[in-house]
Each structure stands twice: as structure tokens, then as C-alpha cells.
């Protein structure tokens, strides 16, 4: 089971009498792009927070990058990158300062950070924005920067919680190119989204309904199974 980048077995989270995540089991292979779909309130974010070590499971087990999320959350955190729904880089720090801060937190050395920052900025086409305060960047740029920061320390797994919410189609396209590049480098990508065209880009997709995983397969197989023309059709039938 440790061969998997992410492994969950009967993972459950209850808040009082409400069961937000109800005994979900699945596994994600290294380098895979795993789409985690579901309606608002289906329990996606709660499940993701458990896998990131931010929230303790009520029962069940979760293993991320070889570490148990309940018993070794800090080791899990060392091995993952996380980009939340709410943009959460420091708005009052400059672009390079945000990169430097988070890289430093993950234990990278100052010199290494400096040289890799230049590469990353060049790759993003952000050289001119090096000294711009992050609050002055347009949303799409912020999201691309946040993703670059999340994978800057080469984590084994990166968790993306609705990374493209509110972003224009061209930037979304560019964002997914970046996701593919990361996956090619061997980074496992765990992504939630409400855009069904994005679901098509994933290697495999799971769909959560009321705290449970109702379907899990490749987009192609899911379309056949639910005899729908696209992922949107699959989602409509399940989430209804």
C-alpha cells in the first residue's frame, strides 16, 4: 500500500452528529493526476484536509507519501504541497519573497532557493514581476504563482483545492499545462474542481456524493458506464 502516493481506507470525518466524509477508500498512484469531484458540501474539502494533516480523521486510515495522516501529520506536511481554495500567499510580500519564505520553511538552502527562483520566474514569464507585491497581481497570475510555490520544494504529492475558481479560460488552460508538467516530473496531483472540462484532463476521477465516493474510474470509462457524452453528463446523473 505504501507504493501508492495516496491511500485511503474507510476514511471518515464526523462533526458532531454530521458525517462529512463517510468511509471513503481509494488509492492514487505516483505521478497520477487524480480528479476529486463532487457537489458543494459533498465533503471534498474535508477529505482533502484530512489527507493534508490539517484535520484528524474520526476513523479509518489515510497514508500520504508513505506517512500516516493521523499519526505522522508533520511528516506528511513535509512531503506535500498544498494550494487552497482561498488564495493564501502573503499579499504584503513580494513575489520572490513569498517563494523564498515557503521554500525556506520546507528546509531549502538560501542559494538553491535563489537560483531556482530565477528559473521559476522565467518559466512563468514573471521576471518583471519579481519585486511586485503579490496583492498587485491579477487573480490568474496569483493562482499560477501559488501553484509554483506549492511545488517549488518538489513535493511527492500536491493537493489543489479548486485552483482555477474564477480564472479565465486561457489562464485555466495554461494552468493545466503546468499541472501536466508537474505530473511528468513525478509529482502526484490531487485536484478538486467544478469545471467538467478539467475533469476530462485527469487520469482518473472520483465523484463524491453526500460524503461517499459514488464513482471512481478514468473519464472515458465513466462516460461509457453512465452512457453520457461527456463528464458533465456523468456528474449531472450522479450528483442529482
Amino acid at each position: 500500500m505504501s507504493a501508492f502516493a495516496i491511500y485511503a481506507e474507510n476514511l471518515t470525518k464526523c462533526f458532531g452528529s454530521f458525517t462529512a466524509v463517510n468511509s471513503i477508500s481509494f488509492s492514487v498512484e505516483a505521478g497520477e493526476i487524480f480528479g476529486f469531484l463532487g457537489a458543494n458540501g459533498a465533503g471534498k474539502t474535508t477529505a482533502m484536509r484530512m489527507l493534508c494533516g490539517l484535520s484528524k480523521p474520526t476513523s479509518g486510515a489515510g497514508v500520504v507519501a508513505g506517512y500516516d495522516v493521523a499519526r505522522e501529520p508533520e511528516k506528511v506536511k513535509q512531503s506535500i504541497g498544498y494550494m487552497s481554495q482561498k488564495f493564501s500567499l502573503y499579499e504584503d510580500l513580494k513575489v520572490w519573497e513569498n517563494i523564498r519564505l515557503f521554500a525556506g520553511i520546507y528546509g531549502m538552502r538560501g542559494k538553491h532557493i535563489a537560483s531556482k527562483t530565477e528559473q521559476t520566474l522565467a518559466h512563468l514569464g514573471f521576471e518583471a514581476e519579481r519585486n511586485t507585491l503579490v496583492k498587485a497581481l491579477p487573480l490568474g497570475w496569483k493562482q499560477k504563482l501559488a501553484f509554483s510555490v506549492a511545488i517549488f520544494h518538489e513535493p511527492k504529492v500536491v493537493f489543489l483545492d479548486e485552483p482555477t475558481g474564477g480564472v479565465d479560460p486561457a489562464t485555466r488552460r495554461r494552468f493545466w499545462e503546468m499541472i501536466y508538467q508537474a505530473a511528468e516530473r513525478g509529482i502526484t496531483v490531487f485536484v478538486t474542481t467544478h469545471y467538467m472540462d478539467e475533469a476530462e484532463y485527469c487520469n482518473r476521477v472520483s465523484i463524491m456524493v453526500d460524503g461517499r465516493i459514488e464513482a471512481l474510474d478514468t473519464p472515458k470509462n465513466l462516460r461509457q458506464q453512465y452512457s453520457a457524452p461527456n463528464m458533465d453528463g456523468v456528474f449531472q446523473r450522479l450528483a442529482r
Partner: protein
């Protein structure tokens, strides 16, 4: 890891639109305004005189009273009921009524009578005001006696003269007593409030979650948050020392080393308390209200204005848990008596205890995962 976090805290602090100005402005305002307003010296007591005698001696008494810095001759009234109206309207605090035949009685060697009526809505002003007035009257009586009776005769009767010596604050300068305590208030406001608000603002912005999902240790996080406030506290304190010396010529009798040593521990204790507030607050308003509530209680029970020894026993027990009290004692003792660390061991132990207690609690209550 710590290095990067401290770097971030300093960048954010210096880049903030308001905080650096606050760190400079706060000690200036506290030192410029508070020593003048936070004073128990009773001055300018408004006096209404009813002179029923209209004699030389009665007008001499009036002049003597009016010449004193403690009193202001607000009005003269033709009768007691008129004077009473001025007390009721708030124009006068004390009525001095000189009885008819005041001079005549004195000349005959009898007792000249005056009557005092005091507005005691403000008890301190009333009692201190009448005490000042009584001492003025007895001075006046002694003056008259020495004019009329030859010196040898006075000596023959014999009298007691008081010669008090005031230690540590020989000129009974109230500012010398208040300024060290105001510095405590300054550090409490800056180093107690600001870290709390800083962390809660990270909660509101959501950036704290981004940190919680990294391997940053709790202690590292808290240490990075506290470090800038040591510096902020020392800067504000140094501005305070400079202003106290320049404006009021008040410098510590003891050493600055002792003061900075205790300040370092106190900042740690009070910032830990601020962090504790932030652990239990999810919004800025909540943190503000909590911090304000506690700081008010702590300031009132610290001995800032009223001596702890005059509080009721149960209140004195509460003050045992007040770090402000200990640091205020330290500041006043170092400033006025020149005490060193050796004289302040109980306070040192208490403050260290608070620093350990508040920071341990703050570290434990900060949860990276729920």
C-alpha cells in the same frame, strides 16, 4: 526555518502602513500627555469666600489663600446661601466662610472663627482640598501669633515643629512616580495587543492555514511572531526614556541594564498573553475586545493609580496574578530607589513564571490540525 519566518515578520511589520508609525507615536503621546493628566496632585480647587467680617485680617486671609497654587478664588459671595448655589452649580468646590467679628475676636485674644463647606462628590479632591486649606489657616494663625507676641514669649510656650525628610522622591514629584509606570503601560499595549492582532489577521486572511499545512513547528512559529515585538518594545521604551529625561529630567536612579533585562522578560510574558488571546479568537473584533477587557483589568489592579495595599484583601489576592503589578514595581524601584536585580528577585521570579506559563499555554493551545 526560523530565519525565514523572522525575515517575513520583519518585512511585513516594516511594510505595514500604520504599525511603524504607531511604535514611534505611542511613546510620544503617552509621555507628552499622561504625566500631566494622570496626577493625584490636587490643584486649582475653586474656592468661594464669604467674608462676613470685611476687616483687615479677613482680607489678608483671602489674599493668602488666593496666592496658593492649590486654590483659585472663584467667587466671593455676600451670604452663605449664595455661596451654596455656586457649589451646586459646580463653580466652587469649597466655601470658606469668615464669621462676623473674626478680627475683633482675634484682637481680643479669643478665637477667630471660619467655616469650611466642602463639595465631596470627588472624595479625593474634597479631602485633600480641605486639608490644604486647614494647613494654610494654621500657617496664618501662627503668623498672626508671632506678630503679636514677642518671640521669647512664644519660645516659652513651646511648640512642636515637624521636619519630614522624603526619601527617593525628595520633592514629592508625582511625575517621577507615574512615568516609570506609564512605560509599563506602553509596553503592555504595544507588545500585548500587537502580536494578538497580527495572528488573528493571519487567521482572517487564511494565510495561517497555508502555514499549518507546512512542517513549521509550533514553537518556531511562535518564536518568529514574538521576535519583532522584542525589538518594537525596546525601541518604544528607549523613546520613552529619552522623552522622560528631556522633558521632565527624570532618569532612573538605577541602571538601564536592569530595566532592559526586566523588560525583555516582561515583553515575553505579555506577548505570550497576547498570543493566548489570539488562540481563542477567530476574528479581529473578538481579539480586540478580549485584549481590551484584560488590559483594563490588569491596569486597574496593577497599582498604576491606586496602591495595591489599599485594595481590599480579596482584590489583593487577584493582583498576585497580575504581571503588570510586578513590572510596575520593578520600574518604580529602579527609577526611584535605584534597585538592582538582587533587590528585585521576587519580581524576577514572578515575571519569569508568567513568561513560561503564558507561552507554554499559548504553544499548547495553538493547534496546527483540528
Amino acid at each position: 526555518m526560523l530565519k525565514f519566518l523572522i525575515e517575513k515578520e520583519f518585512k511585513q511589520l516594516l511594510r505595514h502602513s500604520f504599525l511603524p508609525k504607531l511604535v514611534i507615536a505611542m511613546p510620544c503621546i503617552i509621555l507628552l500627555v499622561f504625566p500631566w493628566v494622570a496626577s493625584y496632585e490636587v490643584k486649582n480647587v475653586s474656592l468661594c469666600v464669604v467674608d462676613n467680617d470685611h476687616s483687615t485680617l479677613s482680607s489678608r486671609l483671602m489674599q493668602k489663600v488666593a496666592a496658593s497654587a492649590h486654590f483659585r478664588l472663584a467667587a466671593t459671595a455676600s451670604g452663605y446661601s449664595r455661596a451654596m448655589q455656586s457649589i451646586e452649580s459646580g463653580d466652587a468646590d469649597i466655601i470658606l466662610e469668615i464669621q462676623p467679628s473674626f478680627e475683633e475676636q482675634l484682637m481680643r485674644g479669643g478665637e477667630g472663627q471660619v467655616m469650611l463647606s466642602v463639595n465631596a462628590v470627588n472624595g479625593v479632591k474634597g479631602s485633600l482640598g480641605s486639608a490644604y486649606l486647614l494647613s494654610l489657616l494654621s500657617d496664618y494663625a501662627a503668623e498672626l501669633r508671632s506678630e503679636r507676641i514677642p518671640a521669647p514669649a512664644v519660645a516659652a510656650v513651646g511648640s512642636i515643629r515637624l521636619l519630614p525628610t522624603y526619601f527617593f522622591n525628595p520633592r514629592l514629584n508625582y511625575k517621577a512616580y507615574m512615568i516609570p509606570a506609564l512605560m509599563v503601560l506602553l509596553l503592555t499595549l504595544l507588545c500585548g495587543f500587537l502580536p494578538a492582532l497580527n495572528i488573528v489577521s493571519e487567521k482572517e486572511a487564511g494565510t495561517i492555514e497555508q502555514l499549518n499545512v507546512t512542517p513549521v513547528g509550533k514553537l518556531t512559529f511562535i518564536l518568529a511572531k514574538l521576535t519583532p515585538y522584542w525589538l518594537v518594545g525596546f525601541i518604544a521604551l528607549s523613546i520613552g526614556f529619552a522623552l522622560a529625561a528631556l522633558l521632565y529630567h527624570i532618569t532612573p536612579a538605577g541602571s538601564f541594564g536592569t530595566i532592559y533585562f526586566f523588560s525583555a522578560i516582561y515583553i515575553l510574558a505579555i506577548s505570550g498573553f497576547g498570543l493566548l488571546i489570539s488562540s481563542y479568537s477567530d476574528a479581529m473584533q473578538q481579539a480586540m475586545l478580549l485584549a481590551f477587557f484584560f488590559i483594563m483589568i490588569l491596569a486597574l489592579t496593577s497599582g498604576l493609580f491606586t496602591p495595591v495595599s489599599s485594595m481590599p484583601q480579596w482584590a489583593q489576592y487577584i493582583t498576585v496574578f497580575n504581571p503588570l503589578k510586578y513590572f510596575m514595581q520593578v520600574m518604580r524601584m529602579v527609577y526611584l530607589k535605584g534597585s538592582g536585580i538582587g533587590d528585585l528577585l521576587p519580581q524576577l521570579i514572578a515575571l519569569c513564571g508568567f513568561a513560561v506559563f503564558s507561552n507554554t499555554w499559548a504553544t499548547l493551545s495553538y493547534k496546527k490540525s483540528k
